[in-house]
Symmetry: C2
């Protein structure tokens, strides 16, 4: 399946969540990731994220699709930077 | 069509972009909006956003779908707040 993941977490957990997402997905922009993922990987990703976030403060939204072909992506403004540009 | 819009803009333009997005879409989380939109409205939305953002600094990513039925949404952590909770 293909997923888009958007996180809104407290500053002190941004780096950890970013690192976990990067293991499974491709960085698109700021707090947005996307990528093809197996069901097993998806379970692992969610378990890792749930181990990091604080349920009372943080929020992660995941959109799931059967295939990437169901959507088209459009960018306004600057090109999304590559993951290597993400400096901590 | 149905769209998911994610913005990453400089702090001084966040409020303006949020307001424009709210005119056409539903707020999901932090800098994420989604909603059903006509082609004409989509053109207006993009024109309004392009009038606000600085192409060299800001980035807006839009995922377009024919229908909402192409995806399933899943939330981890706290429930996404309603748009009314967004305080400037």
């Amino acid at each position: 399946m293909f997923i888009i993941l958007v996180y809104d977490v407290a500053t002190e957990r941004v780096q950890k969540v970013h690192k976990v997402c990067k293991k499974y997905l491709t960085w698109v922009q700021n707090s947005v990731f996307e990528g093809e993922i197996t069901k097993a990987e998806f379970r692992l990703l969610k378990a890792e994220i749930n181990g990091i976030i604080d349920d009372s403060m943080d929020s992660v939204v995941i959109y799931k699709f059967r295939s990437k072909s169901y959507y088209a992506r459009e960018n306004l403004g600057r090109e999304a930077p590559s993951s290597e540009d993400f400096i901590f």
